[in-house]
Amino acid sequence: MNYLRLFVVFFRVSLMGELAYRVNFFVQLFQSFLSLGLSLIGLAVIFSFTNTLGGWRPDEVLALVGVYFLVGGMISLIIQPGMQELIDSVRHGTLDFALTKPEDAQFIISISRVEIWSLIDILMGIGVLVFALVRMGERVGGWEAAIFILMLLAGGVIIYSFWLILAALSFWFVRVENILTVFQSMFEAGRWPISLYPGWLRYGLTFVIPVAFAVTVPAEALTGRLNWETLLIAVALAVVLFIGSRLFWRAGLRHYSGASA
């Protein structure tokens, strides 16, 4: 598929570029280990006082932490850099280059920056996840795994679309980085089971800023907590947001090029 081919080329070029700067690799490695280490220590402390957290057992919360790192890694690998690129290119006028290319400009912009070393977070996330699953034993079967991957995809699409809508605001307002910073810190909330939070915050994290769909829901799928309604909502939300963000992007472009005036 054409998009996949382009993605591979962009990814390869980013990788070649990054390999020249090994310092970044070690910095990211250190940062990832530190972040994961602190999470695990936090968990150890909490579970020395209690056996469940918002109804989640230690191994399950560990799996959640794994998912959190996995999804967070995906976001900082491709979604966040791409959206930053969108904002920067609108401000600096380099979007014009993307618009004169014979490929979809949204796609080109979205893949134009890749933070290769975020792969470390992804690998660590997978590592923690596998470790947690092994400890959980036979409770995770092929069915759960399939649903998990589906929910992971839906979560990724939801986050990407949501973020695109925020970044596309720059077509009208030019300076929108602060919104992204807010999102970044809200995402931090996803490292704990969403059921832990008071009702209003739970709704906020689910529907206003869809962190829950990116982290909690996939983890629920894996731990057998997911019900059909949530699954359907996640898929429907992914589809709706994806289409919505595309329309929003196009409205932004029309504004940018002066077609709507």
């Binding site: 080329v9 070649m16 570029g17 700067y21 490929e103 080109i108």
Partner: protein
């Protein structure tokens, strides 16, 4: 005559800008209510370019050059008017159209900052789906013409401005576009590099038969590159034609350089004396009287040397803009 490569008819682009008055109170007021004013950046221009033609697009800053270029490359929608490039309506941004054009902007980079230019070339190769043989051929050609050899493997941020511009141009031409839009390609470069880029553009235009439309506010660029120029000012077309015709049309004077023994003589009866140094007079005379004045000078004075010249092109252009300013 061949059908035109670029056709522009009554193209107009109006920007709505919100105006803010000076002062804090006014700035706060503008949060609530903004004065909107309309500015016509391009105000009804028309011209045609034949395939393979190279045309200089000239005008002071804010004349509407860049806006026109952006409309022709499909980035901006015009407010009214029409244009076709290679038979396509640019702002529909159809892929077959985009594959055949390119846009180079002297003040903006498309190369990725931290990686060698060659890697960025790979991205364009993938985007334009350039077949391997074509890619190798074009890369060789461009490397030779622009002297890119040692530059391709250095990270772009380690390149000088001129070196970077050469790589930018190469990146934009890898897919061998048949229409090339260049917006101030030599801006900020030193004279040697400007000359290098000019020589390259002429060569590219001839070797590949591409239609080239370039804007510049360096007269030397336009003088060296384009036989035909289009001058716009305040969004309106002032002149379209040969550079020499422009000089004819907008200059009522010629300059006579005359060398006599010293500066004692009074030459004011022949024309306006602009300067004199070591017996070298510079006279300005009405164009129609040039022949008569020359004759008289030669008859009256012990002339050692005499030349008749058109005023420098910068002066001509300045005159054009001065005449037409509201």
């Amino acid at each position: 005559m061949k059908s035109p490569s670029i056709h522009v008819q009554n193209l107009r682009k109006v920007y709505t800008v919100s105006q803010q008055e000076a002062g804090t109170a006014a700035a706060l007021g503008s949060l609530v209510h903004r004065h909107k004013i309309e500015i016509a950046a391009v105000d009804g221009i028309s011209f045609d370019l034949a395939a393979g033609e190279m045309v200089g697009f000239l005008g002071p800053n804010g004349a509407g050059k860049t806006t026109t270029l952006k409309m022709l490359s499909g980035v901006l929608h015009p407010t009214t008017g029409e244009a076709t490039v290679l038979g396509y309506i640019p702002w529909k941004r159809e892929k077959p159209f985009l594959r055949q054009i390119t846009l180079v902007m002297g003040q903006r980079n498309q190369l990725v900052w931290d990686i060698p230019a060659l890697h960025s070339f790979e991205l364009n190769r993938a985007i334009y789906r350039i077949p391997p043989d074509d890619y190798r051929y074009m890369l060789d050609q461009l490397t030779e013409l622009l002297g890119l050899g040692p530059l391709l493997h250095k990270p772009v941020r380690n390149l000088s401005l001129g070196e970077r511009m050469k790589c930018e141009i190469a990146a934009a031409l890898l897919h061998r576009p048949s229409v090339v839009f260049l917006d101030e390609p030599t801006i900020g470069l030193d004279v040697t590099m400007q000359r290098r880029i000019r020589a390259f553009l002429t060569e590219y235009n001839q070797r590949f038969g591409a239609t080239v439309l370039l804007t510049s506010h360096y007269m030397a660029d336009v003088e060296a590159l384009a036989k035909r120029i289009v001058v716009i000012h305040h969004g309106k077309l002032l002149f379209d034609g040969d550079l020499s015709v422009l000089v004819q049309k907008f200059t009522a004077h010629k300059t006579i350089e005359v060398q006599i023994g010293d500066c004692q003589a009074d030459l004011n009866q022949y024309g306006e004396v602009l300067s004199c140094a070591d017996g070298h007079f510079t006279l300005r005379v009405p164009k129609a009287e040039t022949a008569r004045v020359t004759e008289r000078l030669l008859a009256d004075l012990p002339v050692i040397d005499l030349t008749v010249e058109d005023p420098p092109i910068e002066e001509v252009i300045e005159m054009v803009f001065a005449q037409e300013s509201p």
